[in-house]
């Protein structure tokens, strides 16, 4: 059984339907990428999964139905969502942002985890007492990821982590994501416009077009698929 199983997911905003019956899954330990152009429904998919949006269909996470639950309940079940635009809480310090990430935890090891993430992201350590809003976009993205991982989630949803970042920062970020997956076995569902980078760290992927999945396969298969190459990889 997969960690996340999604069947016939539909949803949208008010009367506007965005998703037309998506089926996909994420296995434990996998990095899965959803590629798609602007407006394809990538962000809507993630928001539907984390309960921030009314949606229909079936979403089973870790054996339990989570569709229809509130975002805080989905988070408590073990899904961490790094939203588009990073969701930095600008007037808390870096460390307070991290601490809030552990809100659903009841154990006493939060301080240890914070130090652990400072080890992974030394920039955050240097700026721990600084207001999070004063950091650069790349630093805020690192903070958003570390903050999501503070919850010790079973699955991390990442919404366009490359958005607004310089190419070199983006590459570094994806290297970090890849090593987090390899070394700590953290499962990830990444939606991205930067297809080549995303496929570089993913095991499998799906291509979303106007609310439907049109292609799916392993990262290698997608990289070799002519349509995908023309539309998303640009060669």
């Amino acid at each position: 059984m997969s960690l996340l199983e999604v069947e016939q997911l539909t949803g949208g905003y008010g009367a506007v339907r965005v998703l037309y019956g998506l089926d996909f899954f994420v296995d434990a330990g996998e990095v899965v990428v959803i590629l798609g152009a602007n407006g394809a429904g990538k962000t809507t998919t993630l928001r539907a999964l984390s309960g921030a949006l009314d949606a229909k269909g079936h979403v089973r996470f870790d054996g339990r139905d989570v569709l229809g639950r509130r975002p805080e309940q989905v988070a408590a079940a073990g899904v961490a969502h790094v939203p588009q635009g990073r969701g930095t809480i600008t007037d808390l310090t870096v460390e307070e942002n991290l601490r809030l990430g552990a809100y659903t935890r009841r154990d006493r090891d939060v301080d240890g985890d914070i130090e652990g993430w400072y080890g992974v992201f030394p920039r955050l350590s240097e700026r721990r007492r600084q207001l999070a809003g004063s950091m650069s976009g790349g630093e805020q993205q690192m903070l958003a990821i570390a903050r999501a991982l503070m919850a010790r989630p079973k699955l991390v949803l990442l919404d366009e982590p490359s958005l607004g970042l310089a190419p070199i920062i983006t590459q570094e970020l994806f290297r970090t994501l890849s090593s987090l997956n390899r070394e700590q076995g953290i499962s990830m569902l990444v939606v991205e416009q930067n297809a080549s980078l995303a496929l570089g760290i993913a095991h499998r992927g799906y291509v979303l077009e106007t609310g439907s999945i049109v292609v799916s396969g392993s990262a290698d298969e997608l990289s070799r698929n002519d349509d995908v190459r023309k539309a998303y990889l640009g060669f």
């Binding site: 984390s50 921030a52 509130r70 975002p71 805080e72 988070a75 408590a76 961490a80 969502h81 939203p83 635009g85 969701g87 930095t88 809480i89 600008t90 007037d91 808390l92 307070e96 601490r99 809030l100 990430g101 809100y103 659903t104 809003g133 004063s134 950091m135 650069s136 976009g137 805020q140 903050r147 999501a148 919850a151 607004g164």
Partner: protein, 293 residues
């Protein structure tokens, strides 16, 4: 000079009340972004409860604690039942809802407790000292003391507890906090509950020093508290305290020394609001949000 200091102390005493109610305004504004026009009437209703509790024989300090507890629950319920359904509406709708609350709570207070003058006792002995001709009332010392303790407790709650961190997270970015598992709805209820309790305390401190409790008791206090919150910046507890003191002292000194404004001293808080908004629109201690993307 003795007269000046006496008036100064009067201003500080009133300022402590304005500060306390302004803190209530700030607590709600920070979490929900709403200016709660009903804050004064909520405090009015609480103070009637306090009167009722003392009237049926509770010790005053115990009655104050009970009143704050009941007000906390009442404030949380108002958020859940009245505010939640309109929280995503336009600011204008929300303003109208809080003005509706203002009228409703005032009417309910008159319905339950009548419109006659009610005497609310103090929980401390009333004393007066005259060092060097300056008149010092025990009221002033107690009110300032209560304000200091209140601020200290709020500081500890907001800065030193997990609940306080969640509160500040929701104030800063509710959507993002929700994704981290913070139950935003419950935090908003907490904000309204706290505000109602703090407002109840303001009423419990203010009314015993006046001639008595009447249905219009809190209205002028609310105007001064709005001025205090605007001066301090609507999102800063510390600013609310400083703003309260500025408004209280400015008002007391104007009454004493500016005879031309006799009878229209309400011009002072409004004038101060205008000045601050002209030169520092976010208030003295309010945050102008700076974000890098």
């Amino acid at each position: 000079m003795a007269l000046f200091f006496t008036q100064l102390l009067t201003g500080v005493q009133n300022g402590a009340v304005y500060a306390s109610l302004a803190i209530a305004l700030v607590l709600i504004f920070r979490t929900t972004g709403i200016l709660n026009f009903a804050q004064g009437e909520m405090a009015l209703f609480s103070t009637y409860l306090l009167w009722k509790f003392t009237d049926i024989g509770f010790a005053v300090w115990l009655a104050i604690v009970l009143t704050m507890a009941v007000s906390f629950v009442g404030g949380a319920l108002i958020e859940r039942v009245v505010i939640r359904p309109v929280e995503h509406s336009s600011p204008l709708v929300i303003v109208i809802v809080t003005i509706g609350l203002f009228l409703a709570i005032n009417s309910l207070a008159q319905f339950f407790f009548g419109s006659g003058q009610r005497a609310v006792p103090t929980f401390y002995p009333e004393k007066v000292w005259h060092p060097g001709g300056v008149i010092i009332y025990s009221d002033t010392l107690v009110l300032v003391g209560v304000l200091v303790v209140e601020c200290l407790l709020l500081y500890l709650l907001l800065q030193r507890t997990k609940l306080g961190l969640a509160f500040r997270g929701v104030s800063g970015n509710a959507d993002s906090s929700r994704l981290l598992g913070v139950p935003v709805g419950r935090i908003l209820m907490l904000g309204w509950g706290l505000a109602a309790a703090v407002g109840a305390l303001a009423g419990a401190m203010a009314i015993p020093t006046t001639a008595g409790l009447v249905p219009s008791s809190m209205q002028q206090i609310l105007v001064f508290s709005f001025a205090a919150a605007a001066i301090g910046g609507f999102d800063s507890v510390f600013g609310a305290v400083v703003g309260g003191m500025i408004v209280g002292v400015a008002d007391a000194l104007t009454i004493q020394y500016v005879h031309r404004l006799q009878g229209i001293t309400l011009i002072v808080p409004f004038g101060l609001i205008l000045l601050v908004l002209l030169f520092r629109p976010a208030g003295l201690f309010g945050t102008t949000r700076v974000e890098r993307v």
